[in-house]
């Protein structure tokens, strides 16, 4: 285990940081060495990527706050237009440097304005002698904004001529970001997934105060045994751990087993966790419902999940309309005459089906069809005579709304 060491920062802070970011020490020390000392210029832009909940956001946030580095932290999903994003950065800059809450409204429409206002903001405060970090979380959203935003952020240091470093966090690789025309290449860094050992370590860290760490670690071990196959999301696992812990403790609370009786506890919790995997984890039933079930001691079978309610009650003609749409989308047009006409004449069996049609149409997916064909099939499959009334046409538009049918072309 490499201990974090850096001459520029006090050892106590570094120690605290190390305890806060378990299993990410190597990445943190790498970052620290890139950052250098407070007043030193750092690399203009750093691109950090890794899977969901591999600790990107958390590590950056803890690192910057523990070491009290001046920083701006923005989520790009939340600020969905470039204007909102730039204004938010400026706003945070104002409040973080001056410390007062007198954030006056800023108006910043273009990047040019941003650079100007940014320079003003930085000079007005005593930030010149420190590196300012701008962290853009969910940076993949930047690609959807104006074309100049991403390249400009990558070389913000050069554009503003200030001591600033932009850190981009994303779940996808840098290759998918690179614009066609090329741009400044950021320093890329990969946060690998947590291994099962890491997960175990991190999850066991926060044990409830009433129970010992060992007891909780054993519980986490069982939990990971069940869920590791389907879910490596730390956030989700932590949530599940908290949800099911009460059930795990039940024998201990009632006095049937003591804390060391792992086998008994395992027998008690394992089927329960498996059920949780099929229900709560998939959000078939909500976690609050799950908790209530646990509390009342009921069986999860009583509560039907979301997928259980697949039955949709439809009016008479609507059913036929959907059937007709199904037929129209999977049958080739040529077969209509044969299937839906009473006296369709004889068809030679041998070459009726062309070769390529022998493969199942279901593998190829539904095909578009004209509206008239849909209605013609509808009229022929409904037993009694159907008048082509406005009500039937309006049904079609209703199903367009429900995404049961789609307009093509």
């Amino acid at each position: 285990m490499p201990n974090l060491e850096h001459p520029a920062y006090p050892a106590a802070d570094l120690l605290r940081l190390e305890s806060l970011v378990p299993c990410r020490e190597s990445q943190v020390s790498m970052l620290l060495s890139i950052f250098g000392e407070r007043q030193q210029f750092s690399f203009p832009s750093i691109f950090i990527y890794g899977h969901t909940s591999s600790g990107k956001t958390y590590v950056m946030q803890t690192l910057l706050t523990t070491l009290q580095l001046p920083h701006v932290f923005v989520n790009c999903v939340e600020y969905f237009t470039s204007r909102l994003l730039l204004e938010e950065i400026l706003l945070q800059l104002q409040s973080c440097s001056s410390g007062t809450e007198q954030s006056s409204p800023v108006h910043c429409d273009t990047l040019n304005d941003f650079v100007r206002l940014f320079k003003q903001a930085v000079t007005s405060q005593e930030l010149q002698d420190q590196t300012l970090y701008i962290v853009l979380d969910r940076a993949e959203q930047l690609r959807e904004m104006e074309a100049n935003i991403l390249p400009a952020f990558l070389r913000l240091q050069e554009l503003t001529d200030r001591n600033v470093t932009v850190i981009l966090l994303s779940e996808i690789v840098w290759e998918l970001f690179r614009p066609n025309v090329g741009c400044f290449e950021p320093f890329t860094m990969y946060f690998p997934d947590y291994s099962i050992g890491h997960l175990q370590k991190i999850l066991s860290q926060n044990h409830p105060p009433e129970y010992s760490a060992d007891f909780y670690a054993a519980y986490i071990n069982i939990l990971l045994g069940v869920f590791y196959m389907v879910c490596r999301d730390l956030k989700e696992l932590r949530h599940l751990a908290a949800l099911n812990f009460a059930k795990y403790c039940e024998p201990v609370v009632s006095g049937e087993a003591n804390e060391r009786d792992t086998r008994k506890l395992w027998k008690n919790i394992e089927p329960h966790l498996k059920k949780a995997m099929q229900t709560v984890y998939l959000r078939e039933i909500s976690s609050s419902q799950w908790e209530r079930l646990q509390h009342d001691g009921g069986e999860p079978g009583q509560l039907k999940g979301l997928s259980a309610h697949t039955h949709v009650e439809l009016p008479y003609y609507s059913k036929f309309l959907l059937i007709a749409a199904y037929l129209a989308s999977y049958n080739p047009v040529r077969t209509d005459k044969r299937f839906f006409l009473k006296h369709h004449g004889k068809i030679r069996k041998t070459n009726f089906m062309k070769k390529h049609e022998k493969t199942s149409n279901h593998l190829l997916g539904p095909k578009p069809f004209p509206l008239d064909r849909l209605l013609a099939i509808l009229y022929s499959i409904v037993d009694n005579r159907v008048a082509p009334t406005a009500n039937i046409f309006s049904q079609v538009s209703v199903y367009l709304l429900f995404y049961l049918l789609l307009v093509s072309g």
Partner: protein, 706 residues
Amino acid sequence: GCFVFKPRTKKRRLSEKTAHDFGSTSENSEDIELRFVTCQSLWNQIKSETEQIQEDLNKQLLDNLVSFLSRSHSDFQEKTTEWTCRMKFREIPTAALVLGVNVTDHDLTFRGLSDVLQDNVTPYVALLEAKDCPGIKHLMQKLMGQLMNCDIVVDSLEDEDCVQASQNKIRCSMPSLISWYESVTKKTDSETPRKKRNSSSRHWQSPPVVVIFKDMESFTTKVLQDFIVISSQHIHELPLVLIFGIATSPMIIHRLLPHSVSSLLCIELFQSLSCKEHLATIIDKLLLTTRFPFKLGEKVLQVLINIFLYHDFSVQNFIKGFQLCIVEHFFSQPLSVLCCHLVDIKKRVYSLSNDQCENIRRLPSFRSYVEKQESGKQIELLTNDSFLKEETEKLLEDLHVYHENYVSILRCLHVFTSSLPKYPLGKQIRELHCACLENRVWETEEYESSLQLARMLNKTDLVTMLQQCVEILMSSSGKKFDKTVGKLKEFLTQFQNLEEASQERDVSVSSQKELQKKTDLYHLQKTLLEMKESRRSKKLTKFEMLRFEVVDYIDTLVRKYLVPADNRTLHEILYFNTATILRGHLNAAPRTALHTALNNPHWYLKNQALKCDGGGISNKAPDICIVYKLHLECGRLINLVDWLEAFSTVVMAAEEPNGDAVSSDQVDDVIHARFIRAVSELELLGFIKPSKQKTDHVARLTWGGC
């Protein structure tokens, strides 16, 4: 192709429909004002009744939702320090509200829902529709607009200018929403004690912000995902609750949202009442009641129910159709002035004018009634107005009484038929009602078979049914059923006695069996055969006798009271039965109408010159009709040049007598222009569209007229 999009409900026009509009036609203008007033008051009664029904039916659902909302954020506030709460990921409480495919009814439900929420839970309710939110930006704008507006409503007196100033230029982002929320909740805390008491009694300390997505299916995935991701990051500062209105099935949530997003939600499912049950209640409360003098005839009811079951499942449309029936009835039937409550009848009958009396005499049902009378009375009825009025009053009273009895007996019969296997007369009371209105129900095969089945009911069922019938008859207002109730009660006591008797007999039978126990096999066989023989030829048991009696009695009741309304004298006054008008209004066929108009313009224009014989194309028809008829003869692709030639030939046919077959270029230009206009009109109507395959061709979009 032809799509029909239902128009959105526009702002209610303040049309002061007056009695003058109501009876603009001169032929049936008697008592117009009175008719109009009666119609209005009747409709208002019915409207308030339906609203009440709707409210009652939704109560359960709304109560559940309110308790869900109260649970959603309160338990978090109580124990923030607890370990589990700290560890648990904070999900957004979400209610998935499954409402069924009847989209037209949803508006009313949502309106009721937001009213209830605003009264009981929180003033901050936002209703979002998919068509307003194509992007996350629009969604936020809409959301903030609605939330801040509702704030203005709450405390409009205090600081209107401040809010308005901030509204001018507001940043549509979550932080501004949060700061708004903080300021608002802080304000309510520091309010004057009087106001605080007021508000805190209705809302909680920090009321949740409820966002309702009216039509979940129509939202784009990206908008929903982004919104959920954003708001989940601020759930600690802003107690948000989402409500998804779902028309199809809750599976749609999984289809729209990936697991990474749906894991941010804490979804609970709520199901609204099925629309069929809703309709059953509406029919029960509106039609099978004596409260309203106006009644629907069989055909009309059938049309309304068919539209409901076959097309849209919409209760609102059913009620709208019912309203149309009322208006149409009062508008077209001059005698509908007598369609009022019993108390008013006498006054209205005696104030009838001479013309109205003639109207009565013209009613078919009255004429057949007259024919059945003796000659002296016939003359009196046809000549003496005051005698006629007396008679009319009596007949109308009879009609009211008839309906009252009809409803009670119908319910009794329904008790029997609804528990029979396979439901020969229908499961729902509406089916039975239609069958009874249609013709004499006791002459139908279904009735025959259901009586057969009723004769095979077991005793417990029969007794409970009889008890139900007694209850129904007792609760009906009339006193005419005293005798019937007495008779039914008598049956019940007989059944009671039977039970005691059979118990005694059981004992004797079992003792008899014990005697036989010791016989050998041969004897046993013999006795068994004997017993079988005796059973076959045995006379009916007492119970079976009684059962026959009961069924026969029910049969006599049905024959006596469930006479179809058409057979009653003066039924035209209370029953609306012109189904064709209703069908034309409610179940229009635009495509057929269009085809008729274009194919046979005489149908609508009523111009003698246009009257064409056979399939020929008249050149006097409007240009578009000529073009349409010509295009019917073409295949999928139409050559524009050929089409133009054919068109000009048809048009020129008129000028042929003039001599010049080869006309000058100027005329050709005019015809060309007319042709182009007609073709573009056809394109506008959706019959053709320009084709990309061949530039000088257009593609047909329809196959001939249907």
